[in-house]
Amino acid sequence: MAGITLNKAIKRYGAVDVIHGIDLEIEDGEFCVLVGPSGCGKSTLLRMVAGLEETSGGEIHIGERNVTRLDPAARGVSMVFQTYALYPHMTVAENMSFGLRMNGHPKAEIAAKVKAAADILKLNDYLERKPKALSGGQRQRVAIGRAIVRGPEVFLFDEPLSNLDAELRVEMRVEIARLHKEIGATMVYVTHDQVEAMTLADKIVVLRSGRIEQVGTPLDLYHDPDNRFVAGFIGSPAMNFVKARVRDGRVHAPGLSDEAFAVDIALPPNGTDLLVGVRPHHIAIDPQGASHTLIVKEALGAMFHAYLEAPTGERIVVEVPEAEAVGLQGDVGLRMVPDRLLLFDARTELRLR
């Protein structure tokens, strides 16, 4: 039974704050994904939980215990590293059993645990091999196996799939999801890939520059982002943003259409600058219109991505079904449903609801 609680956790390098007082609650057994652009402090936060980085301020609890000043080994966590960090001179079995052997567990127990982990990860045929003789995916499995064998309360993953090729990445993603179902331990998973975040997470934590932008389930974040950053970060292809302004109680977004449209939320005063966000599959192309110019079509199979340029110079991506996309060219119009548009304050970038 071990959730994780961060209480105003701060990490400081010299005079520079890298993590600015993070409050976060991760439930027992939850799969929590920390996501954000490179350099936003995901790894640092994870390593603070692991105890590999000293916490400069605030508190970290795992289960009932305050672990803020505890040694990494005493925290009951296992970590899977991006580079796998396998010991090259040990076989797979030795790698997986290393921690147990070093801490004086009986031989029979170690053998049983290694066998159990190898079964879960389908590593039985490779136990006597050295890491050098394994593929990237197999190495990652061994690294995960090493984490499982210790039977931790919390698993920590730092971009475990980013050294794998695209196909393997999908395979291992499914594997990790299955693992979480099977073991049911609390898992904290760091990635910069929002697809991984969406597919794996019970709860996503979006980080930017050492601050939490939003916490929620994948679909919460997707449908109901708090701010422009989250809206733009979650979802692929990314959300379109165009400039807009409040005019006579309506929203005028010249990048989308000449006509101002009404929305059913309370708008700020006339003349306020806004941003309108719209997902590529929430707008459609009107072949009869001529307000936008089609620049490129990308064929993805059943769907096409059409890149349009608005008269304002803004770029808009539209998802178009294959049947409609084939004949498209030249100048086209846009069709949209005002309900599907998200409004943000242009200055604070906060969502208007």
Partner: protein, 298 residues
Amino acid sequence: MSYVTRVWQDHKAAITPWLFLLPGILMFAIYIVIPIFQSIAISFYRWDGLGEKTFIGWENYRELMRDDIFFTALQNNVIWLVLYLLALPAGLLLALFLNQTTRGIRIYKSLFFFPFVISQVVVGLVFSWFYDPSFGLFNTALMKIGLSPIAVLADERYVTYGVIIAGLWPQIAYCMILYLTGLNAVDGEQIEAARLDNVRGWRMLWYVILPQLRPATFIALVVTVIGALRSFDLISIMTGGGPWGSSQVLAYYMYEQAFSEYGFRMGYGAAIAVVLFAIMLIYIGFFLAKMYRDEKGR
């Protein structure tokens, strides 16, 4: 097209590497390989270096078997070898100690590396003064703590150890540099993984760090063994093999027999050199076998 040009055109890729290797091979053959065989040949003769050579078969080797100083030298070489190996753990400890990022660490590293840069002759002189019974630091220190002075280099019991300690000073520095370079390549995440497994201190060193330092250890071992076996400069500067041959080693004894004022016994000197070569051959064989295994294992 002439015949030569045609051969060149057809086999360019095969010939070019040999052309590049040629100067090196020539040098190596003239200064190393051929002299080895010449030495082996000379060891079967009696020869003063100028006059007639007389073939005497195994006589030089038979004489070696009766030569007390030869056995002293052999024994001292073994002592050198064993004690020189201390340079590895000592160099490793220094490297571990210096492998940190504090202000001015480069200065400390340079200072520790310094003994390797200076000539063995200088090292020998420095240690001769250090051991000097009348003004040396060593005896001054002994007297300070109330012990009677020891004339290290004049005492048969201590002289070899005294010289070896002088030799260890630069050798440790060398091993330290090798290990410092090796430590740079140690994977930090492996160390962190081990920390999560509650592995630390000596066990971390033994199970996680040392295995990653194996290439450095191997090179350090090879240069240290070779360095111990060919010890010459320090003996020459500090003791000249004395007192009464008690600090002799094979390399210096060979030189003394073959070239020094006691007579130019080229054949006998060559026989000593051949014995030394045979001992080194064991290590070179080990070295080559390991290199070959590593190349193949890749």
